[in-house]
Amino acid sequence: MSDNIQNLQKSLSERLPQCSVKIRKHGGVELNSSKENLVGVLAHLREHFGYRHLSHISCVDWLEQNQFELVYILWNYESRIQLFVKVRLARENGSGISIRHLWPQADTYEREIAEMYGLPFDGNENPRELILEDWDAMPPMRRDFDTRAYSKEAFYDRPGREDAKDVRSVISGRSGEEIPEIAIPYTRK
């Protein structure tokens, strides 16, 4: 298997000199591409290297570096080697590039990344909304989206649940009933 991986790395470096190719520590091969080359690289991998199965498209927010990283995970049914194609994009006003003409299921991934990260895809404009409905706040999967602050603003506390008070003591205070002995050890002081 390791021979196969080395051969693959060698032939990938020869055929796709615009990408940096490396063998991954945890198995498989990784290609780093630029956005401009991405569609060509993926199409080439599909047509000439037998990478027919698109397992997954993921997006990682590297807030510190002000970049998004798109990860395309491919699988070859014959050689059984996993391939990762990674592309870094600008976080602000950046855009990905659609590959739904190569793999139709990519459309769903692109719809999700567009609404969850606010990263549009060239060639997949105005995607149908997938999970979020009428969302107008910051895209929620971005690292700087504060879930607690958002929920504080969007929802109100149920009476008795303010300040994360113990509900049992509030209820017993309200109705005058006593906390049963068995519950006392678990009641917040």
Partner: protein, 367 residues
């Protein structure tokens, strides 16, 4: 006279829909012209929640990603962390994990037997198979404390060893399920109503299935042999003997036959596991979970679940919390791209029938 198109909203609360999702249908008469999957009724923001919890706290979240078969989630996450850390898993724990995964597969198939025949109007089958599934849930309850969500597999191994006499009870349930299979055949697969409903319905062409990222029984129902357990073996699957059944019909019937034959394979796997399981440790202890940091890196791990390739892309930045956990459920492709395609031109009565055959599962589509 030109027939008018009508819009129908099937779901999110509909007995034929496999969970909380909606299919918006344009129909003329009872023929579907166009279908659109609408999800979002079950989005719990799990992936975001995982980013603000430490590695150990992520385990109770992941099992809730798939209700009928939660264990592949736990196994995937545990294996991803172990791969990043380079942590060894004791062999006994690996065998126990295989046993749990296969029991979960059986439980999931029993639920599917019920759903698939229930959507064809055969209502005896769901009562029987869901009843029989309870024997497996009883085993899970004894082993893990939970019937549906187990939180049993974690990084480094499993949470506790098998209770005394557990192996016997597992084997007894396997014998029982094997005997029940002929009754299931009588009720479902040998039933001419089921055959007529299933044959030639929901056909996906083999080449298209390969290009579209279809996995699991729908792909094997197109005559293509692909199973993560064989192609990219994990745990101790390479030490076990089993077959990967395929059919060539590409329709609902072929998928049903594939699942029915896999059921027998899973029983055989569990028997082998019980026979070969070594003694020894079941857990390679992780450090204090509050100060547990996982080395930086990214990894994609996958399991063959009852519905196909279940993948996890896990990224660590070297801190005590995951940077990103992204789940690839088979239904993400089956339930949206493929379902919308297969429903075009289908009969209105076949919607839930086709959905069941693809293993559509909304909780893993939205997470």
């Amino acid at each position: 006279m030109r027939e008018k198109e009508t819009t129908l909203y099937l779901g999110p609360q509909h007995p034929g829909i496999t969970g909380n999702m909606m299919v918006k249908l344009k129909v003329t008469g009872d023929t579907i012209v166009r279908a659109e999957t609408h999800v979002g009724y079950l989005h719990r923001g799990f992936e975001k929640l995982m980013e603000v919890r430490n590695w150990m706290q992520v385990f109770p979240i992941v099992c809730r990603i798939c209700v009928p078969e939660p264990d592949p989630n736990e196994e995937n996450l545990a294996r991803a962390i172990e791969t990043l850390e380079g942590r060894e898993v004791p062999e006994r724990a690996q065998y126990i994990r295989v046993m749990v995964l296969e029991l979960a597969r059986l439980a999931s198939y029993l639920l599917w037997f019920g759903g698939q025949s229930g959507s064809a109007g055969l209502y005896t089958m769901p009562q029987w198979s869901v009843g029989d599934r309870d024997y497996i849930l009883d085993l899970f309850e004894e082993l893990t404390g939970g019937r549906v969500y187990h939180m049993y597999i974690w990084a480094g191994g499993v949470r506790r060893d098998l209770p005394e006499g557990f192996a016997d009870r597992v084997l007894r349930v396997m014998d029982y399920l094997e005997k029940r299979l002929k009754h299931y055949d009588n009720l479902m697969l040998d039933n001419s109503i089921f055959q007529k409903r299933a044959q030639g319905v929901g056909v996906i062409d083999r080449e298209k299935a390969l290009d579209w990222g279809i996995v699991g029984p729908p792909l094997r129902g197109c005559g293509f042999k692909h199973d993560v357990r064989i192609d990219d073996p994990y745990l101790v699957y390479d030490k076990l003997k089993f077959e990967v059944p395929t059919e060539t019909g590409c329709d609902v019937w072929a998928r049903a036959l594939v699942r029915r034959r896999e059921f027998e394979q899973s029983i055989s796997i569990i028997r082998q596991v019980m026979e070969k399981m070594p003694g020894g440790d079941f857990y390679n202890k992780v450090p204090n979970p509050l100060h547990w940091k996982v080395p930086a890196g990214d990894v994609y791990v996958k399991t063959e679940s009852a519905r196909g390739e279940f993948g996890y892309y896990v990224v660590s930045d070297g801190s005590d919390k995951p940077r990103r956990v992204h789940v690839r459920g088979p239904a993400y492709v089956h339930g949206i791209t493929l379902l919308e395609h297969l429903l075009q031109g289908a009969n209105l009565a076949d919607v839930s029938f086709i959905m069941n055959s693809l293993g559509t599962c909304p909780p893993e589509m939205e997470r």
